[in-house]
């Protein structure tokens, strides 16, 4: 298991080089990228977090996924600080024997990470700054697990 909360960029290729060695048939990865807003004037996506709790929350979510789907390996990397459009915010990866487990575990990680890990996003645009509101959909997504 690898959990990382960091300001600096990460390289998915380097992170995945030795990921899921062993009895693995399926590796699923998710990479989140900063998208421009509807208006098209996003200058910076500022990501705040809660040092200490963040790492503990991510490890807890990853351990639960590992247990439920008997994962061979699991990884969560999440950045904080100021990010530009097109930059990678975060990634998760899961290694399992079969594709169904690898996909489900990756979606589980993403759903919990969205609503249960202490990160907050603020959009800084030409016209001002605004905290991103949590979506009811994201909270509802937890119900399926």
């Amino acid at each position: 298991m690898r959990i990382a909360v960091q300001q600096e960029p990460f390289d998915p290729a380097a992170e995945l080089r030795d990921f899921g060695a062993g009895d693995t048939g399926a590796i699923v990865t998710f990479v989140g990228v900063v998208r421009d807003n509807e208006v098209g004037d996003l200058e910076t996506m500022e990501i705040e977090h809660y040092p200490g709790m963040t790492e503990a929350a991510l490890a807890g979510i990853a351990e639960e996924a590992e247990r439920r789907w008997s994962l061979g390996d699991v990884m969560v990397i999440h950045r904080y600080g100021g990010l530009k459009t097109g930059e990678r915010i975060m990634m998760v990866a899961t290694a399992a024997r079969h594709r169904k487990a690898a996909f489900e575990a990756a979606e589980y990680l993403m759903d919990y990470l969205k609503s249960r890990a202490p990160f907050w996003k603020k959009e800084i645009t030409r016209s001002g700054a605004e905290w991103v509101a949590a979506k009811a959909d994201d909270e509802a997504a937890l119900d399926r697990w």
């Binding site: 705040e48 202490p118 990160f119 907050w120 603020k122 905290w131």
Partner: protein, 81 residues
């Protein structure tokens, strides 16, 4: 007890953390004490439905007891990923 604020709660109150002397039994009691202090606290805690709380870095409810807690944090719903 250390009290931490994140995101717009931090901005509204104007500081990221402070040490609070309190005899509050539950989180709700602590919120009442903070609200009574100053308008900026009252504004930050106006709608508890828009807030989340963690006790010693674990998510908790507002009626959770504070006995033994070293760190309480208030923040809006999380938006990671």
């Amino acid at each position: 007890m250390d009290v931490l604020y994140f995101a717009w709660v931090r901005e509204r109150i104007g500081l990221p953390r402070e040490t609070v002397e309190t005899s509050a039994v539950t989180v709700n009691d602590l919120v009442d004490e903070l609200r009574a202090r100053e308008e900026r606290y009252a504004a930050a805690f106006a709608d508890l439905g828009a807030l989340r709380v963690a006790i010693d870095q674990e998510l908790a409810d507002f009626d959770a007891r504070l006995a033994g807690a070293r760190e309480v944090a208030f923040f809006p719903p999380m938006t990671g990923g």
